[in-house]
């Protein structure tokens, strides 16, 4: 092989774009569980956006007369230790998870794309430095360093989002870089360089489109990881401060203190969390199989193996 054939690369590129376009029908046709996951994710996002409208009660309203009650018509999931409506708190918890999750993933996306694109395209000393930094970063037990940073910055939603975003971003630089390295070999990138395109134009118009499919997969799965991290850190008491109804925080404070009187208090936030993480994982798995069979995962590899066998002469 003297080099990739430009027409083949174009064909591959248009095939890629094709997979992005008819993604939804394929998801419902081939990946039933992934479609269920997508519906869970959509419901979660909608509940987060419309939390104000959906929550039946004010989350700050205290009804000390009704503290620690079981489910009733007035309080569908019961009440907490100062009589706040649990259903409303769980709904607002979805909003917090959503804001932190989507915000952190967006920050992470910007970091991963910026450093990944430049590191893969420029190579050289910059690449070497970034890669060593990523190496070192990946050996940290992430919870240790996130907790350390959170304890120094102080609790709060903004801090949480920024810290988790930085972590997601740095962890995924390598994914972007890998795609850039293989895309850079294509003749059309060389052609663009030859006619004197500026670096940013090559990166954004010629390389970025190739980076999207694996990035969509990786960041969908990251959304689940971020939401889980936020609730874990809030559970340990270093994340979202108490008056705000974070799922992790609800489990930690009220859930553990009043667990023998009202065991259901700890059930709902955790159950919501588990369902959302399940949905995101299923959706992410399906996306991975549909968009990027090269990444390790469920049936994608299996199908690739079958295709290879069939195409043998």
């Amino acid at each position: 092989m003297s080099g990739p054939d430009p027409t083949a690369a174009q064909a591959a590129a248009s095939a890629r774009r094709g997979t992005l376009r008819d993604l939804l029908p394929r998801l419902f046709r081939e990946k039933k569980l992934g479609a269920v996951g997508m519906i869970i994710v959509l419901v979660f996002l909608l509940v987060g956006v419309f939390a104000d409208v959906l929550a039946p009660a004010d989350i700050r309203e205290r009804n000390l007369m009704h503290a620690l009650e079981g489910p009733s018509a007035q309080f569908p999931l019961g009440t907490d230790h100062i009589g706040r409506d649990l259903l409303s708190r769980v709904i607002h918890g979805a909003r917090i998870s959503m804001i932190v999750g989507v915000g952190a993933v967006a920050i992470g996306l910007v970091i991963a794309l910026f450093f990944g694109l430049l590191s893969g395209y420029w190579g050289g000393v910059f690449d070497l430095l970034v890669q060593r930094l990523v190496d070192a970063w990946l050996t940290f037990p992430w919870l240790f360093i996130v907790l350390t940073v959170m304890s120094l910055l102080g609790q709060g939603m903004v801090q949480m989002t920024v810290v988790l975003g930085a972590f997601t971003g740095i962890g995924n630089i390598r994914t972007v870089r890998g795609v850039v390295l293989s895309t850079r070999q294509n003749a059309y990138v060389e052609a663009a360089q030859a006619i004197g395109c500026r670096t940013w134009r090559i990166l954004l118009r010629h390389i970025l489109p190739q980076v999207w499919p694996p990035i969509i997969v990786v960041f969908t799965v990251s959304l689940g990881a971020v939401i889980l991290s936020e609730s874990t850190i809030s559970f340990l008491g270093f994340g979202i401060p108490p008056p705000q109804p974070s799922w992790g925080g609800m489990l930690s404070l009220e859930g553990r203190t009043y667990m023998e009187v009202a065991p259901l208090l700890a059930l709902w936030p955790g159950l919501s969390l588990a369902i959302v993480v399940f949905g995101i994982n299923m959706f992410g798995d399906a996306l991975r199989d549909l968009l990027d069979p090269r990444l390790t995962g469920g049936a994608g590899r299996l199908r690739a193996a079958k295709v290879r066998k069939r195409s043998k002469p």
Binding site: T139, L152, L273, G298
Partner: protein
């Protein structure tokens, strides 16, 4: 081979230097001086604060502080705790065996479940058993450990008036009581890893069982046991081992949560208490040591490839 091991070990040095710089920078450069915090909460006088700053060398330029810290670390001296004034190394050494026990037990649990199930699923893809077991694996991955741990504390107490033991007993004093204490936290911690390992083992078995040398083994008339365990499994396990090494930081993070919930006095619960007290000498030491541990385990896994897969040649 020896040259490869040596080079792999030498490569730890630059990575550890970067790791130590990150640890140093996170703790010193982020706003919120520890001494200010102590003055505000602990009725420190301003004079005492100045004296403490001097003693800890916080008034020196950053590179001198780093040099002092790192030269101590190389000699095994991590400084003293800001709160208890005990040597940091002693505190960590005292708690380390408990966390290692928890980690080893949860790894054991994860592999005991994941490997047989993964092999079975890989041998019978899309069978009813495979589908059920895969769903269970997904369940294992999705249930947050802190929720599961809390539920295990709550529900048996409400239903059967029984709750897991919470008082720490040393293994050497009473091995049985010690193991009953650790077994539930170990299962809670190992569940996630078990689910992930199960899925990867299945995928790898599917891929390996398709290969020509496995067909040859069948054609030679070997029994199923020999084909699966001696020929296929060995090659399927290679990526599984790599994955476990890469997931080690997640497992250590999980140990923080599990030790906190079940009140085990290990490294994880030490993290939670020192964070609350902002005891940053212990925090720096813990961050650095854990990163070194992860790095070392990954190097050992890299080296063990030679044993698992003789096709890999080291040059």
């Amino acid at each position: 081979m020896q040259a490869y091991i040596l080079r792999r070990l030498l490569l730890i040095v630059p990575t550890m230097v970067i790791v130590s710089l990150i640890v140093f920078a996170t703790i010193r450069l982020i706003p919120g001086d520890v001494i200010d915090y102590m003055v505000s909460t602990r009725y420190f006088t301003a004079d005492a604060a100045v004296a403490l700053r001097e003693k800890l060398g916080l008034n020196l330029p950053a590179h001198v502080q780093y040099g002092r810290w790192i030269s101590g670390v190389i000699r095994g001296d991590f400084g003293e705790s800001l709160i208890t004034s005990l040597p940091v190394a002693d505190t960590i050494l005292q708690r380390l065996p408990r966390s290692l026990e928890l980690g080893a037990l949860s790894l054991l649990f994860a592999l005991l479940i994941a490997l047989p199930v993964g092999i079975y699923s890989g041998m019978n893809p899309e069978s009813a058993g495979d589908q059920i077991l895969r769903s269970i694996a997904i369940l294992f991955i999705c249930i947050p450990s802190f929720w599961l741990g809390t539920m295990i504390l709550i529900l048996p107490a409400v239903w059967f008036r029984w709750s897991p033991p919470m008082h720490f007993v040393s293994f050497w004093k009473d091995p049985l009581a010690n193991l009953t204490l650790f077994i539930i936290p170990a299962i809670v911690l190992g569940m996630w890893l078990s689910g992930v390992t199960m899925r990867l083992t299945r995928t790898m078995m599917l891929e390996v069982l398709r290969q020509d040398y496995v067909r040859t083994a069948w054609a030679k008339g070997l029994r199923e046991r020999a084909v699966v365990l001696r020929h296929a499994l060995k090659n399927a396990l290679n990526p599984v081992l790599t994955m476990i090494g890469l997931q080690l930081p997640v497992l250590i993070g999980g140990a923080v949560v599990v030790e906190h919930i079940f009140n085990l006095p290990g490294i994880g619960s030490l993290v939670v208490t020192t964070l609350a007290q902002r005891d940053y000498t212990i925090l720096s030491a813990l961050n650095l040591l854990m990163a070194a541990f992860v790095l070392l385990v990954n190097v050992i896994i890299d080296i063990s490839y030679a044993w698992l897969d003789p096709r890999i040649q080291y040059t």
